[in-house]
Symmetry: C2
Subunit: 415 residues, 2 copies
């Protein structure tokens, strides 16, 4: 008998008919003899409706009260799924975050899970019941209701799977799995059978959007086998796990891209040890996430620093730099918007130093201007003009043969 955790997102429980289908899926899994814990999100647009109510009242809703408000969404879903299960003759019980023993930091809207006491869930499983847990929510030590921020229900599912030492955690979503690239934009993009935690983490952080990075991190830390699969079709998904077998350990496994990026350049900063930390501390204090960073020294020993931010953070970043102009003692700030980021990801890059060069060659052949570059152990990212993003992604997808089955590629490598 296996213990499995499954998670269904807002689209999968968007109306009462879809909720009935989720109940049928749970029943099917129960009939295989497994212990089943299911985490659900709020129904479709219900969170938006709650946010609208709050916005009717105030422009700056209190974070504690937003958590109080929004957590009702998942509470509605769990009760309805249990009703649907009972209608099918399946014994089931719903639990809110605090009832499921999910404890978090005393932080609102973006709390991290600190601890899970799975005994309540386990007791119900031992009674043979399907357990429904409200995603996205927990309780702090001082008894406040908290939420886990974006992708929170994924994190709830993975954390519960870790606490219950479950055999797997399935994330049901509106795609059939993890793709080599977004198939809406890249010809020949193909679903992967498996991907490593690190690759998934890199893809998730690069905006591939299927799984929340925090959930992947949690899965990696606790070695929870994750399965990304479709809530609409009964087809195999993508397995995210630690060990991807050697032959599948290909150089490039997938690519990601996102637009609405702006490059900001600060010219002629004093060339001192503390300069870099001062610049980025000012931005971090206001929650402005900086992605790629380039530092150059001019011929007369001044410092030029460039970095990329999401374009919607541009105005605030410029304001902050202007406010701190005297303190930072720079000469001028420039910025360039309408940029995009294209990235390739693959564990095999560690031992294949030529991959970045291959990427730059492809981009140059496509006459795509490279504005900035960054590399990690398992990825290379390039900032390019937004208009060239899709063209670059398609060219890279072809160059690295991502459209071919892993097996074919391995055979080709071995031939």
């Amino acid at each position: 008998m296996a213990t499995v955790v499954q998670k269904f997102g807002g689209t999968s429980v968007g109306d009462t008919d879809k909720i009935k289908r989720v109940a049928e899926r749970i029943r099917a899994r129960m009939e295989e003899g497994d212990q089943v814990v299911t985490v659900v999100s709020a129904m479709g647009k219900s969170t938006d409706k709650l946010v609208d109510l709050a916005n009717d009242i105030t422009d700056s809703p209190d974070p504690r009260e937003m958590d109080m408000l929004l957590t009702t969404g998942e509470q509605v879903t769990i009760s309805l799924v249990v009703m649907a299960l009972k209608e099918l003759g399946v014994e089931a019980v719903s639990l809110t975050g605090w009832q499921a023993g999910i404890r978090t930091e005393p932080v609102h809207q973006d709390a991290r899970i600190t601890d899970i006491d799975p005994s309540f869930v386990q007791d119900y499983l031992n009674e043979g019941k399907a357990v429904l847990v409200a995603g996205f929510q927990g309780v702090s030590d001082d008894g406040d209701i908290t939420t886990l921020g974006r992708g929170g229900s994924d994190t709830t599912a993975v954390a519960l799977a870790a606490a219950l030492q479950a055999d797997s955690c399935s994330i049901f979503t509106d795609v059939t799995g993890v793709y080599t690239a977004d198939p809406r934009y890249v010809d020949g993009a193909r679903q992967l059978d498996s991907v490593s935690y690190d690759e998934m983490l890199e893809l998730a952080n690069l905006g591939a959007g299927v799984l929340h990075p925090r959930a992947v991190e949690f899965a990696k830390n606790y070695s929870v086998p994750l399965i990304v699969r479709s809530s609409l079709e009964d087809v195999p998904g993508t397995l995210v796990e630690e060990e991807v077998s050697m032959e599948e350990n290909l150089i490039v496994r997938g690519l990601a891209f996102e637009k609405d990026i702006t490059k900001i350049s600060i010219e002629r900063l004093p060339n001192q040890y503390e300069t870099m930390s001062e610049v980025f501390a000012i931005l971090a204090a206001e929650g402005i996430n900086v992605d790629l960073i380039i530092q150059q020294t001019t011929s007369d020993h001044a410092l030029n620093v460039s970095f990329s931010v999401d374009t919607d953070k541009l105005d605030r970043a410029l304001e902050l730099l202007e406010e701190n102009k005297v303190h930072l003692c720079y000469s001028i700030v420039r910025h360039e918007s309408l940029l995009a980021k294209v990235s390739i990801v693959g564990s095999g890059m560690i031992s294949n130093p030529g991959v970045a060069a291959d990427m730059f060659r492809v981009l140059s052949e496509e006459e795509v201007e490279i504005k900035m570059v960054s590399t990690s152990e398992i990825g290379v990212s390039a900032i390019v003009p937004e208009e060239a993003m899709i063209r670059a992604a398609n060219a890279l997808h072809t160059q690295f043969e991502l459209g071919q089955k892993d097996k074919e590629k391995v055979e080709a490598l071995q031939a």
Copy 2:
């Protein structure tokens, strides 16, 4: 500095504009220097919408899951009221039932409060915060979310007032107070300045509908001064308290009436000690509430029993009697629908035995047929034809001079 508890029902928090007005009322009360706890219901029709969702899924929703579902309604309201208060610059905090320490029996949909730990609420009051508590809900000792049944938010407010030893508990509603009779139907019906717990209890049980009987009972048991007042206009309400001063201790204080009543008669039951208990145990086991009961012995020592029920319980009652015909050993069952109950209430009746006679005289003068009668220490009820209900109520209201101010009546008595 006084501690006050206030309760606003679903109509008073029906939309975000109304929620802002409730917040302004709370602020005004805070500015008087009082500690203010406010209990709110779910917004207007939101409970109906949740019930519709459940009905989409099943005809017989699980009671535990209905509690899980419906309690989200009050949770939404408390968070929105706190947001509105913060927008007005008032420090405030919201608490669900379990956070406010409201513990109940392990029963769903109609649990009784067993205990309140007010320390959490008190701590926030001591910090100078307005405290918003979700009405209608609590938590059982095994950690399940429970609800208090109809009128549950009134009960939450009164119970919190008792636990906090509050100076008063105001129930804000869509009428300005307790009336001598329903002013929509009775000419000259007048708002009462005060009424005793027992009178209010009798009126509430007789369907006057302003306050839930359980809340009044709670207020009486813990001597919580209750004020029924308007959430729309800033006018004095009606005070419900133990000691109504002697001069106000009038014979008849108010009257109530309700329709959709059916009289059921069982003829020729065996005249044995256990007969009555057997008949009513069968009905009680199925939750059929019996109101008035008449028992007569026929000339040949058989037993005839008549009782009144709500008409919507008629079919089930007849079924049960038919099923038990052999066991109960009666001859025939008859029933008469389209009846109504008219009742007069007043603490002074105890020492005024002529009141019932006066009532019957008035009804006879109005040619209203009396089908059944029952009396309590402070009330007399008569079952009459439905078509005569309003006529009877108006005649009784006039006869007992309920339209006159208490003071005038006392002066007239003393003259």
